[in-house]
């Protein structure tokens, strides 16, 4: 900053400059207009307003206006043709959703199952792989690439690939175990007792790599001195990990939790490609899409489902933000 620069020039002593002398409070006040004059020329202000203004406008228009519009539409019915056909129906959409829609509660349940499974299986697995790869074993890079590859693929591609694996007639699994004969079919895609788990295997396959990379980054940041110290204290590998390394991974764990919640709530593309959210794999995001997009155009009703999804997201985000802010205030 200009003020700091001038102080340094005058005093010639950096140490003194770092702590401004008590009497200097008036000096910067005099220099403010000059400083700002130099800081913000006409062009600067234009640039600034464009740089701050445009994103703000886009943010308001694309996030806030649409979110509020969707909340408002949730209390109406609208077929999407002309604004005149919007009619206010109060809470009817929600009543219909909670009491009459046979797909709604399963969808909520599946979103929850999705989260629980991602946290219980691929996350520890990713952590395990990260710990192994962190040991600088041979071909570490090759393994890293192999495990991370599914994360690079788009969800739609993953859905398509796994759908081929699970195909009841020509798929890999049924062909291998001979379950593609009449009477012996294992319907991985259509059977509601199986299909969610079949898809979750595909989702976990991808999520493991994602978690591995996050934890690997976290592990690289762990101070080697800590390990050394615990080794000197006579701690075994597991004890070191449990008592020393894992606690230092706390920031990574927070990221992992947030990422996994987001993954569980936005789960859509994989299932949509896999079986379009047939019975057993209903998800809130798919219900929103089925009702709003396409010819069905039940925009009010679809918005009501979207609002439920929003409320669930907020229920997760708000406690997280409160905790973060509290921590910041304490610090």
């Amino acid at each position: 900053m200009t003020n700091a620069d001038t102080t340094i020039e005058k005093s010639g002593n950096p140490e003194e400059a770092a702590v401004p002398p008590p009497g200097s409070a008036h000096v910067p006040a005099k220099k403010v207009p000059q400083g700002h004059k130099r800081l913000l020329t006409k062009r600067d202000r234009l640039t600034l307003s464009l740089m701050a203004g445009l994103p703000t406008i886009l943010h308001i228009a694309l996030v806030w206006v649409t979110a509020l519009a969707s909340i408002l539409l949730a209390f109406t019915t609208w077929d999407g043709i002309g604004f005149a056909s919007i009619t206010w129906v109060g809470l009817d959409n929600f009543k219909e959703l909670f009491t009459n829609n046979p797909q709604f509660w399963p969808a909520v349940e599946h979103n929850v199952v999705w989260f629980v499974v991602l946290i219980l299986i691929p996350t520890p697995l990713g952590l395990f792989l990260a710990v192994q790869l962190d040991k600088n074993i041979r071909f570490s890079r090759v393994y890293q690439t192999a495990f991370f590859l599914p994360v690079v693929l788009s969800m739609a591609v993953i859905g398509f690939v796994w759908q081929l694996v699970y195909n009841p007639d020509t798929g890999l699994i049924n062909s291998l175990i001979g379950a593609n004969e009449p009477g012996k079919y294992i319907d991985w895609i259509g059977d509601p007792d199986l299909n969610l788990w079949a898809i979750l295997i595909a989702a976990s396959w991808r999520h493991t790599g994602y978690m591995m990379i996050l934890y690997l980054a976290g592990l690289k940041g762990v101070d080697p001195a800590l390990r050394e110290a615990s080794a000197l204290d006579g701690a075994g590998e597991w004890q070191t990990f449990k008592n020393v390394v894992f606690p230092t991974l706390r920031p990574t764990n927070t990221i992992v939790l947030v990422v996994t919640i987001i993954e569980a709530l936005r789960a859509f593309d994989l299932v949509f490609v896999f079986n379009k959210g047939a019975e057993g794999t209903e998800l809130l995001s798919i219900l929103v899409t089925n009702n709003i997009i396409g010819e069905s155009s039940r925009i009010g009703y679809g918005s009501a489902i979207a609002v439920v999804l929003l409320v669930i997201s907020l229920a997760v985000i708000i406690p997280y933000l409160i905790a973060t802010f509290r921590k910041e205030r304490r610090a």
Partner: protein, 436 residues
């Protein structure tokens, strides 16, 4: 630049400038779509060009339509500007497409899906077109082309029937006879099962094929009029008549290929092609899966057997594709000329040359080049007392896609739950049909 004596007012000015900048940018942002909207509807139309919105994105039909338009241009001197979109995308965006700046003429389907846009004022009546093409079509087609207000809104081009497909060689080899009554069908299914065949191939992963089975059972058991009432949301899904349809279905469901909800219709068709299945209920487009010429010639079909003698086999499910005139047409005269041309046998013949799985909607079109299968399809349709379009074309798409598709998949998997499924359908139907 405004220089103030007080340091505090400077940030004030800059904040104001910032806000002004934001306001300006907001006005700019809001202005762009408005301007483009004006531009879209305001452009003067070229009287020599007709625009067409097409969903024929596959290579074969795309070429066929291009041939039709080339012939029209030669005929009338009017240029046709085709705007082709992916088939499914076209269907999904149809609402916003028709409200925005649609092309003069657009591809669409007959039935409720056509009447819906007519009633919403998104299509223009074309009684003037029909004055010249009326003689080309049978009464059933005329009925299909009218909106709820009795005016014409649609020009049909081609159609295809739904029926039970089988392989002649399999029937010959095993000595099967084509069933004409329900009891014969059930007996045939039993026999096929004994012979180690899957009696009826079935794949409902895409969720629409089951609607075809329901339609057949429904209009055979309850007649065409009940089909119309049920699809229009007037009859109740908890009616004993509907329950009867599901009872019949439950009776033959064990003879359907199992694991149907996870199988695409293409895979199901392959089981018929490979002689593992005896029959398959689908539209004539099943022929697309018979790539081998010899297999193709071996393919044959018969109408779904009679259930109630009062209705016999008088109804045929024959989805019909054609054209409509948008509300925002820029070249009305040219568009009318194009629609008149599309309603002629000549245009249909050009199309059929490239797609041997469908038949012409017009009775005047030349049938001499038809394959045996096409001839049979043509006879079936022209002999029908009533034509239906298919559940998702005869009813509200929001009802069929969000309620019926999952409900039928559930029934196929677990037919015992039929009562709770039907009462759930009825409850949801009431709210959907009550809105708008």
């Amino acid at each position: 630049m405004h220089v103030t004596p007080s340091g505090l007012s400077v940030p004030g000015t800059s904040r104001r400038t910032l806000l002004r900048g934001m306001g300006g940018a907001a006005a700019l942002g809001a202005g762009i779509p408005l301007l483009s909207a004006c531009g879209g509807s305001g452009t003067a139309a070229d009287p020599k060009t007709v625009t067409v919105g097409s969903n024929a994105s596959d290579a074969v039909p795309k070429k066929a339509f291009a041939d039709i338009y080339a012939a029209f241009t030669k005929d009338s001197g009017l240029k046709v500007d085709v705007n082709t979109k992916d088939h499914n995308t076209f269907q999904e965006q149809i609402n916003s497409y028709l409200q925005g700046t649609p092309d003069d003429v657009f591809h669409w389907f007959a039935g409720y899906r056509m009447q819906f846009f007519a009633a919403k004022g998104l299509a223009t009546p074309i009684d003037d077109v029909w004055k010249s093409i009326e003689g080309n079509f049978p009464d059933a087609m005329k009925k299909l082309s009218k909106g709820e207000d009795g005016k014409y809104y649609f020009v049909p081009l081609y159609t295809y029937p739904w029926a039970l497909f089988y392989r002649k060689s399999v029937f010959q080899e095993k000595g099967y006879e084509v069933p004409t009554t329900w009891d014969q069908l059930v007996a045939l299914c039993k026999q096929m099962q004994k012979d180690g065949l899957v009696p009826i191939a079935f794949g409902d992963k895409d969720a629409w094929p089951a609607m075809g089975t329901f339609d057949q059972l429904n209009f055979r058991a309850n007649g065409y009029d009940f089909h119309v009432e049920l699809m229009a949301g007037k009859a109740s899904w908890t009616d004993a008549k509907v329950r009867k349809v599901f009872d019949l279905w439950t009776e033959i469901l064990p003879y359907h290929q199992d694991g149907a909800v996870g199988r695409t219709w293409q895979d199901a068709a392959q089981t018929l092609a490979s002689k593992k299945a005896g029959m398959y209920l689908l539209g004539t487009f099943v022929g697309q899966q018979f790539t081998n010429e010899a297999d193709r010639e071996d393919l044959d079909f018969f109408a779904f057997p009679e259930i109630d003698p009062a209705y016999g086999q008088d109804t045929v499910e024959a989805p019909t594709d054609g054209f409509m005139l948008s509300k925002a047409k820029k070249n009305h005269e040219g568009a009318v000329k194009l629609l008149e041309y599309l309603g002629t046998p000549a245009a249909e013949e050009i199309y059929l040359k490239s797609d041997p799985n469908v038949v012409a909607a017009s009775t005047k079109a030349d049938t001499s080049s038809y394959s045996a299968l096409q001839k049979k399809a043509y006879e079936m349709i022209s002999g029908a007392k009533s034509l239906t379009q298919f559940m998702d074309r005869d009813s509200r798409p929001d009802f069929t896609s969000t309620v019926m598709q999952p409900a039928l998949q559930k029934f196929i998997r677990d037919p015992k739950q039929v009562d709770s499924i039907l009462s759930s359908i009825e409850r949801q139907k009431k709210t959907i049909f009550a809105s708008s």
